[in-house]
């Protein structure tokens, strides 16, 4: 049987990088095809070529046997190809409905059909199971909600091919389930789905076939996923065996390091209290919009607090000032890397050194040699794939950008409390296990670590204690010994919670 | 209650400030109200006239940003039922002929330029230079028709007195301030390093001063420079007050007193007593030198 979607000898290079080299594979009609590989392996590049946004240096894309020659995103639409890119592509100032229709507004003679604009959207949003007002501005949504909007955008039209580049990277299990059922429906319609993810569980559950990329080349192609094991895929991706991704190591916990009292803010009206001990890794779990990210931002001083005190080792931290927090040893690795993390048009080196450099710049004079050393250290340690430390960060793959941001905070000396929001968003399995190992080391050295994650296995795998949030409140707490997937999940769902007056 | 408008094209210029000042004196004397409006371009002139009409003024005096605005100004004044007089620049119709019906007081730009040219020629003769060997810097701002007329006036006199056309060099200034003139003139001086004696003139004192600064910065002695400005405002007086004489030998002062005071009085008489002003009054510029500027200013009623 000839494949419905085929890539033939596809190559694509960027300055200094061969992102794809001679990649060929095919996907059968109605199949969900996984695409895996380390960060920077070339997955997003492949998707970008498919989307019509960029053109291959060599090679062809075939749909239903015919070579596609489209030169723009529009052409790709016409050919029935729809893509969700890794970085969310929404216009914050437009409403949810307008974003869903962007590029194909319902109109007569250029005049918008405003009824259709709203009516069909409401149904579609209910369909993908998110509860947002179609006339709300996208700027007012949380990352997770935005991701769901992006998904709704892709499934709105009948497409022959849908490619999803890490659609679940900031979704928790509930939303992921909704996505999976949508995918099942599309599949039943005969749509070909290309699915990029770093979450092995998902891939094995969802996909019929799988391609593994490595260094831009085809590393393996598995037409039937039921015949192989996860470990096999990992070693194909990483080139070595990783037996236990989490690699959890128990540690002794010391004195209370971080004490949060009565913390509240505009988007988190009900006060929150908790403590973290030295050496402890505390996890926060919740569904999208539960308020975890907002909590970390208030904690760090990125947003202004309404009430609350944050105490580190018995000393209160000045509110509403990131610099003060950093000086007190409290750092936050934010969730939205594009908006809050990477510093566009600056190099990898500068992105790593920006915060830590104050520690080794006498009289405000920078030390280029030291900064280079620092950058090289983390490029090595986190295995950041970049042609050089001078590369502009926007040219890195998503996962590698995330690693740079992590590196920025790991480079900080004197940190007592490390707060990481979605630490491994978009990071590959190999790097993940190394990052976890690093976290254990830091904790063992006495740091208090707070990890926010939407990936339940991750939270359960690496933390000592979990606090579950729902509707802006901490609903339950679990000690590691008492971790139970079902109970944690149920604590995160609003309907199982006693509704407060 | 008599209310009279006084609209000028460049309210920041000292010249117009002075016109306004003297008009104010007239207003105090006769007890009418003076409304001063700056209007830098045709559009502003239109709204200024509307504005005067709305305030209930009976007439106004205007120095227009462009003489071709004539028909528009006349029409707008009629629509607002305002009497109109012009000062400094005379309105022309679409055919380029002066609008005789509008009373005017002024001095022709060409005449001023000729006065400048004459002053330069006199000084050159006094210093005993051979006009054939003298370089002339024409600091120009050709965007402004008045500026063209002034410098052309000066050039016509220079040529008539034996300055070769080939030695008159254009130094176009990008703006009308001293720095722009300085930069433009410097280029000319450097291009003709062989010329020893220089004369310079331009649209106003600032232009001439820029040329003088340029000669100083390239190291030409004041004895070898003759620059004559137009206006006689503070920047020129400052130059005369300097302890050592510079290349800026004189300026053609035009009296803002007559232009401000007399036009205002005439307009008042027209409005209050129905006495039509003379259709055309031409005033003269007067040359002020380092040696006599104080007297000249006193004569003209400045100070």
């Amino acid at each position: 049987m000839s494949d419905f979607l085929q890539f033939r000898a596809l190559s694509k290079g960027y300055p200094g990088v061969q992102a794809l080299a001679d990649v060929s594979f095919g996907v059968a009609r109605g199949a969900v095809h996984g695409l895996m590989g380390e960060n920077g392996a070339g997955k997003s590049t492949l998707i970008r070529l498919l989307s019509g946004d960029q053109r291959a240096d060599a090679g062809d894309i075939l749909i239903d046997g015919s070579v596609q020659t489209y030169a723009s995103v529009r052409d790709a639409f016409e050919a029935g190809v729809i893509v969700i890119h890794q970085e969310l592509q929404l216009v914050p100032e437009l409403t949810v409905a307008e974003n869903l229709w962007l590029g194909r507004f319902p109109a007569r003679a250029g005049v918008l059909d405003r009824k259709r604009l709203l009516s069909e959207v409401g149904a579609r949003l209910r369909d993908v199971g998110i509860d947002v007002n179609p006339s709300a501005k996208v700027a007012s949504l949380s990352i997770g909600e935005r991701q769901m909007v992006e998904i709704a955008k892709a499934v709105m039209l009948d497409a022959r091919v849908i490619a999803l580049d890490e659609p679940t990277s900031s979704l928790s299990s509930k939303e992921s389930e909704i996505l999976f059922s949508l995918i099942a429906r599309l599949k039943a319609r005969g749509t070909v789905i290309l699915y990029v993810s770093h979450r092995l569980d998902e891939v094995f559950r969802l996909c019929d076939s799988l391609t593994v990329l490595r260094d831009g080349k085809l590393a393996a192609h598995h037409p039937d996923l039921s015949r192989i094991t996860r470990d096999q895929v990992i070693s194909e991706m990483v080139g070595r065996e990783i037996t236990n991704i989490w690699g959890y190591r128990a540690r002794l916990h010391g004195e209370v390091r971080l004490k949060v009292e009565n913390l509240s803010g505009d988007r988190l009206p009900r006060p929150i209290d908790f403590e973290v001990r030295a050496g402890e890794i505390l996890g926060f779990f919740g569904l999208i919009g539960a308020g975890r990210s907002e909590m970390t931002r208030l904690l760090f001083g990125a947003d202004s607090r309404r009430t609350g005190r944050v105490v580190i080792d018995g000393r209160a931290v000045a509110p509403d000032s990131p610099p003060a927090s950093i000086r007190a040893g409290l750092v936050l690795c934010p969730e939205d890397r594009k908006h809050d993390g990477i510093i566009q048009s600056r190099s990898v080196e500068e992105n790593i050194a920006i915060s830590a450099r104050r520690l080794f710049s006498p009289f405000g004079l920078v030390q280029p040699r030291k900064e280079a050393e620092l950058a090289d250290r983390f490029i090595g340690q986190l295995r950041i794939r970049t042609p050089s430390r001078q590369q502009d960060i926007v040219h890195l793959s998503g996962g590698n950008q995330q690693k740079v941001i992590l590196g920025r905070w790991l480079a900080e000396a004197g940190v007592r409390v490390l707060v990481i929001d979605e630490p491994t968003r978009g990071i590959d399995v190999g790097a993940k296990s190394e990052i976890y190992a690093l976290l254990y080391d830091l904790a063992a050295a006495g740091m208090a670590i707070v990890v926010i994650s939407s990936e339940l296995p991750e939270v359960m795998g690496i933390t000592d204690r979990i606090q579950v949030m729902c509707g802006g409140q901490i609903t339950r707490q679990f000690e590691r010994a008492a971790y139970d997937e079902r109970e944690i999940l149920s604590a995160a769902f609003p309907d199982t919670r006693q509704s407060l007056p | 209650d008599v209310k009279i408008g006084f609209v000028v094209k460049q309210p920041e210029e000292p010249w117009f400030q002075d016109e306004w000042k003297f008009a104010e004196v007239a207003a105090k004397e006769k007890g009418f109200q003076l409304v001063k409006i700056g209007a830098e371009d045709g559009e502003k002139v239109q709204s200024a006239i509307d504005n005067l009409g709305a305030q209930g003024a009976q007439g106004f005096i205007i120095c227009t940003p462009d003489v071709k605005l004539g028909p528009g100004i006349v029409a707008k004044s009629a629509a607002n039922n305002l009497k109109v007089m012009t000062v400094d620049d005379r309105l022309v119709g679409a055919d380029g002929k002066p609008l005789e019906a509008v009373p005017h007081m002024g001095i022709s730009a060409t005449k001023i330029g000729e006065a400048v040219g004459q002053a330069i020629v006199d000084e050159v003769k006094k210093r005993g230079w051979d006009p054939k060997t003298v370089g002339a810097i024409r600091v120009s701002y050709d965007q402004l028709p008045t500026a063209v007329d002034r410098v052309e006036g000066a050039i016509s006199v220079l040529k008539a007195n034996g300055f070769p056309a080939a030695n008159i060099f254009d130094a176009p200034q990008a703006k009308t301030d001293t720095e722009a003139a300085l930069n433009a003139a410097t280029t000319v001086l450097n291009k003709h390093a062989e010329i020893k004696n220089w004369v310079a003139f331009g649209l106003n004192d600032e232009a001439a001063l820029g040329a003088v600064r340029a000669t100083e910065s390239v190291g030409i002695a004041p004895e070898n420079v003759v620059a004559v400005g137009i206006g006689g405002a503070e920047s020129a007086i400052n130059e005369f007050k300097k302890p050592k004489a510079t290349g800026f030998v004189g300026t053609v002062i035009i009296s803002p007193k007559r232009h401000g005071y007399e036009t205002a009085i005439n307009m008042y008489d027209w409005v209050a007593n129905g006495k039509q002003p003379e259709k055309l009054i031409l005033t003269a510029g007067q040359l002020a030198l380092r040696s006599n500027y104080a007297e000249v200013r006193k004569q003209l009623g400045i100070e």
Partner: protein, 317 residues
């Protein structure tokens, strides 16, 4: 009380604040609220008002246009010269609008197709076009042969001069285009997130060229009306217009970072600029102090709007 607050702090807050200020000025400044003065005021903002319509689109799509002043002057000259030489006013008008649109298209192509910085490009065309205006007439104003040309500006419909009608029409038209058409939404999308717009299949390059072309065309219209009002084509007209127009837009809440624009806001911005000038002249404020007052009004207007927005955020807490 509560509803008053709502009105003040709502979406239309700027309009309400403006209305309050207007009433205040009407009461305190003599001769302000007369029909004559109102018409004069409206006429004085015609050029800014018309050009603001398209500048709004330009800014909303994260672009920038400094060449509007020169284009207005140039197309005014063209209108007059073409009318004079062909003897037909209609041909003159067509020529002017065409020239304006050509300048716009050139801006658009250079900026969008060759990806040259908009500031530099329009600064360059600003100079070049001004140069053409000066060269074509040797730096002097050109008078209009056929007095019928004046009628464009003098005709009154229901007592209101034609240019004011044109401005009103443009306000309505471009307000509609911004909010109710695909073109408007795409403009906002390009400004809000160009990458997203491109990936959603919006033809960003074509859109940007269109926006600049429209801008040029509208400058052509403004140039014609201006020439008719000042009864001549003047090469030095409308200098500094670009900054006034951009200020009016920004005052009206158009974001320079793109993606945000509203016609009502721009109208208010234009009127604020016009009223400030008008009142200063009515109050006979001295020329030098006018600078200071003008600056203060600008600051005050954005400050007030800012306070309003932050107060609104507060109250919604």
């Amino acid at each position: 009380m509560q509803s008053l607050k709502k009105i003040l702090l709502g979406e239309q807050g700027l309009v309400v604040i403006f209305a309050l200020a207007f009433v205040l000025v009407s009461i305190t400044v003599p001769n302000f609220l007369t029909e004559r003065n109102m018409l004069g005021l409206l006429q004085s903002v015609v050029t800014i008002g018309i050009v603001s319509c398209t500048m709004m689109f330009c800014l909303a799509s994260r672009d920038f246009d400094l060449s509007v002043g020169s284009t207005v002057a140039f197309s005014g000259m063209v209108a007059v010269m073409a009318s004079n030489s062909t003897g037909s006013i209609l041909l003159g008008l067509l020529a002017a609008i065409t020239c304006g649109a050509i300048v716009g298209v050139i801006n658009g192509v250079v900026i969008a197709r060759f990806r040259i910085n908009a500031l530099i490009t329009t600064l360059a065309t600003m100079q070049i076009v001004r140069g053409f205006a000066l060269i074509s007439s040797d730096g002097r104003a050109v008078g209009i042969n056929d007095p019928a040309f004046y009628d464009l500006a003098l005709t009154r419909i229901l007592g209101v001069p034609a240019p004011v009608w044109v401005m009103g029409l443009f306000f309505v038209l471009f307000g509609f285009v911004l909010n109710r058409t695909v073109f408007g939404k795409n403009t906002l999308a390009i400004g809000g997130n160009p990458e997203a717009a491109r990936l959603a299949g919006v033809n960003v390059v074509t859109m940007r060229i269109w926006i600049f072309a429209l801008q040029g065309l509208v400058c052509g219209v403004a140039g014609i009306l201006l020439a008719s009002r000042i009864t001549s084509g003047q090469p030095n007209a409308a200098t500094g217009l670009e900054l006034s127009v951009i200020s009016a837009c920004v005052l009206g809440g158009v974001s320079l970072a793109g993606g945000r624009a509203a016609m009502t806001g721009v109208i208010v911005g234009v009127l604020i600029m016009g009223i400030a000038e008008n009142v200063m002249n009515l109050l006979n404020i001295q020329a030098f102090y006018q600078y200071v007052v003008r600056g203060m009004i600008l600051l005050l207007a954005v400050l007030l709007d800012n306070l309003r927005v932050s107060a609104a955020t507060m109250s919604r807490r």
